[in-house]
């Protein structure tokens, strides 16, 4: 069965975009090389062990978080096999086994095998123990990663799961935005680390983690404490067995079905109907607010944005040199609107048909403005609260005008960019009814995210410039004058980008529907930048489909025998 599952997984992978995978392969290879370089370059034996232990932990954490953030076509879902007459626990272990043969897990093994380096000095037996330990650690890490992913998949049904997934995305994006601050601080300490090793308390913590056990075992065997060494190995075996037993239970296909009996009415169903204006805009705003509150995939977007701000704050606070910008974390939360809401139409699935069949003169405007307004109403208050708290806590009075100018500018521009990208770069994910994993609500969003992020940053430049001028060139009231620029910047971004979207959608709601429902775009009416973006965002999916067709044709041809008989 394992062989069949592995070949099924490889088939699924062959149908996923090649470019992305190749980028991953290059990055992974570089990371493996730097891991080995770090361990080899360490000056003393004890330091070498510490460096190896530290990198192994890094690889472990990366492997556990990676699949959550980048799960794609290669993941076999247990639900695919529900109807087959297979033992559910065996199927679970088979699915787990199918995770091991992959490029990423190969890199992980190579990186963990760096545990051999410190063992070289201790003799061949220690080296053998290190290799065995690394293999066991590999099984432990991959099984753990699969368990975490599965737990999150089912956790998309609970609020806690959404919070955890949101925190993970926040960590990733926050690390991208502010990671360089920590890296910059770390870079100053790398030579120090390679020469002197880690502080003792850090070493003590790392030693407890399973990724450190292989090198502990090799060390013990190499220094004559064979019993202790074997005990470390045995501990790894036991941990692997425990995780495998858990996997046999947790990776089974879920047979509970989607709908548990409701115990309470959904959020926002008792009030609100009366509060909203009795117009198409009121209709869309009410619908959007409820969808944001109730849909775990949308909630995940909001949480990710919030946690990105928090992570930004923490990273900058601990970086030392850059701690001064920590009070501006609320601005990052507002900025994240552009990513949280950049696939609104794709997230709704084919539901855009409702706006098409009910089209009236004000439908498109109401749809665009309602979506913008909802996301601003949901993000601006928490961003403002975080800003106020952080400015007060860090006693950074200088930040008040920055926050007061930046929040309206970012919220206005980001909501405009988000709805524009949602319409022009629509990316249909899995149908809303079939979603299970945290990444199911959109397709390949790489280009869309870049356009949304850089577009927002570019269009809030006037506010940034006004603030700089206010601080540098004007007297004390200078920064406060920038607040007016920020408000105007935000209002214009909200208004003009929304109007641009309305203009684009006025005749193209059926185009958006066709792109979602049929995965193709045969309306080539859009010109200029919007036309380019529309074409480019569609191209990734078209390419994938063409590749699939070519593959199918090639297979059909292969099936034809040389004599021409089918």
């Amino acid at each position: 069965m394992v062989g069949v599952l592995i070949s099924l997984k490889l088939t699924l992978l062959r149908h996923s975009p090649k470019g992305l995978r190749q980028t991953g392969w290059v990055l992974g290879a570089l990371l493996v090389l730097s891991t080995w370089a770090g361990v080899l370059l360490a000056t003393a034996g004890a330091v070498r062990v510490e460096v190896q232990v530290l990198t192994a932990v890094g690889w472990g954490v990366g492997a556990v978080l990676g699949p959550v953030l980048m799960s794609g076509a290669g993941v076999l879902r247990a639900e695919y096999f529900t109807l087959l007459p297979l033992d559910r626990s065996r199927l679970a272990l088979g699915l787990l086994a199918a995770v091991f043969p992959s490029v990423a897990s190969g890199y992980l093994l190579l990186a963990l095998l760096a545990a051999v380096v410190p063992a070289v000095a201790l003799g061949p037996l220690a080296m053998a123990v290190a290799v065995l330990g690394a293999l066991l650690a590999w099984v432990v890490v991959i099984t753990l990663a699969r368990l975490v992913y599965a737990a999150l998949g089912s956790a998309m049904r609970t609020w806690l799961g959404v919070e955890i997934a949101g925190l993970q995305f926040g960590l990733l994006i926050g690390a991208m935005l502010a990671g360089w601050m920590v890296v910059a601080a770390a870079f100053q300490t790398v030579p120090l680390l390679l020469a002197e090793g880690l502080p003792d308390d850090v070493t003590a913590v790392l030693a407890v983690l399973p990724t450190s056990w292989p090198v502990r075992a090799a060390e013990a065997v190499g220094t004559g404490r064979t019993g202790t060494g074997l005990a470390w190995l045995l501990a790894l075996v036991l941990l692997a067995a425990l995780l495998l037993a858990l996997a046999a239970v947790l990776l089974r296909p879920n047979l509970d079905g989607r709908s548990r009996r409701r115990t309470r009415r959904p959020l926002g169903s008792r009030r609100g109907r009366r509060l909203l204006p009795d117009t198409a805009l009121g209709a869309v705003l009410g619908k959007e607010l409820r969808q944001w509150w109730r849909d775990p995939w949308r909630a995940l977007e909001l949480r990710s944005g919030f946690y990105t701000g928090v992570v930004f704050g923490v990273f900058s606070a601990v970086s030392g040199d850059f701690a001064v910008v920590a009070p501006l974390s609320g601005l990052v939360i507002a900025l994240m609107i552009c990513l949280a809401a950049c696939n609104l139409y794709g997230q709704d699935g084919s539901a855009v048909w409702v706006s098409i069949v009910n089209q009236r003169p004000d439908t498109v405007t109401a749809d665009v403005r309602g979506r913008q307004l909802a996301v601003v109403l949901l993000v601006l208050p928490p961003a403002a609260v975080v800003s106020v708290v952080l400015v007060l806590v860090s006693d950074a009075a200088w930040a008040w005008p920055v926050v007061a100018a930046g929040l309206p500018a970012l919220a206005g521009v980001a909501s405009g960019i988000a709805v524009l990208v949602s319409a022009v770069g629509v990316s249909p994910g899995v149908d809303p009814r079939a979603r299970t994993g945290p990444n199911d609500a959109g397709g390949d969003m790489g280009l869309q995210a870049q356009v949304a992020l850089w577009g927002t940053l570019l269009l809030v430049l006037p506010t940034a410039v006004a603030l700089v001028v206010g601080f540098v060139a004007l007297p004390g009231w200078g920064p406060w004058a920038a607040v007016a620029v920020g408000v105007l910047n935000g209002a214009l971004g909200y208004g003009l980008l929304g109007r641009l979207t309305t203009g684009y959608l006025a005749t193209r709601l059926p185009t958006v529907y066709t792109r979602i429902r049929y995965g193709r775009n045969d309306d080539t009416g859009a010109r200029g930048t919007l036309g380019w973006f529309e074409t480019s965002s569609q191209q990734a999916e078209e390419k994938a489909r063409e590749a699939k067709l070519a593959e199918r044709r090639a297979r059909a041809e292969r099936r034809m025998t040389p004599t021409g008989r089918p």
């Binding site: 409701r262 959904p266 009121g282 209709a283 709704d348 529907y513």
Partner: protein
């Protein structure tokens, strides 16, 4: 009301064509649905029924041809045409996290209907289609069964009291009791002067309900007219099979089954 609006057919498709790349899904079809008729569109899987209806209601842009609702071109004057249309598509998403009542409220406001009218009609539709219990519990559309989804879809199609109903597989997965209610609703709608276009796989259902039918296969209309004209002396199913072609199970096929 203009002259064309009072005399033109409920739905008229002229040379309607749709290609997906090289594949022709709908091949220049012409179809006229007279006012006040209960029109059945039948065809095998993949015949082009859903594609044709999607183009007829303004969802999918045709490669060529026109679609007119009560004389108004759906693609030239979409807002005018859609005012008179009620649509139930097959298998599409809805705002999944709304309850049935909230969906109807959203729908009514989008349509610019007065709040009191929406509230009264929504309550009535939910009661008649037996979705009121789910509404009381706060069940959202995502948690509905397939049959319940059809029923809430029908409720949305009826809410604004359209003059032409276009329904894609309205009876699919609907239980027999609800199916009877649905039939009564549609018959009353037609008796009051409305027109219904409905697609279905189930020949007996179409035979029982519709006064006019069209058989469509491989993107083409193979026969169209009154029920009597199309089925001739036999049943609709006989006529359908003779037009679409029968696939017989030979003696040597699937002999392993049940062995």
């Amino acid at each position: 009301m203009t002259q064309t609006e009072t005399t033109s057919p409920a739905l008229e498709l002229r040379g309607l064509r749709r290609q997906f790349g090289d594949k022709v899904a709908v091949d220049d079809i012409d179809l006229v649905v007279p006012r006040g008729s209960f029109f059945g569109l039948v065809g095998p899987n993949g015949a082009g029924k859903t594609t044709s209806l999607s183009m007829a209601v303004g969802l999918l842009r045709p490669t060529a041809g026109r679609a007119m609702v009560l004389g108004t071109d759906v693609w030239a004057d979409p807002i005018g045409a859609k005012t008179a249309l009620g649509v139930l598509p097959d298998g599409l998403a809805l705002p999944e996290r709304l309850t049935g009542g909230e969906l109807l409220d959203y729908w009514g406001r989008l349509r610019g209907m007065p709040r009191a009218v929406v509230e009264d009609r929504a309550a009535e539709l939910l009661r008649i289609l037996e979705l009121d219990e789910a509404e009381r519990l706060g069940t959202v559309v995502l948690e509905y069964s397939t049959g319940m989804r059809k029923k809430i879809g029908l409720a949305t199609a009826l809410l604004h009291s359209p003059r032409v109903l276009v329904l894609d597989e309205p009876y699919e997965a609907v239980d027999p009791v609800s199916a009877r209610v649905l039939t009564s609703i549609l018959r009353r709608f037609v008796a009051a002067g409305g027109s219904v276009v409905m697609s279905s796989h189930v020949m007996s259902l179409v035979e029982q309900l519709c006064d006019r039918v069209a058989i469509i296969a491989r993107g083409q209309v193979l026969a169209a007219g009154t029920l009597a004209e199309v089925r001739g002396a036999g049943t609709l199913e006989d006529r359908f099979v003779s037009l679409v072609g029968e696939r017989r199970l030979e003696e040597e096929d699937l002999t392993w089954l049940g062995s």
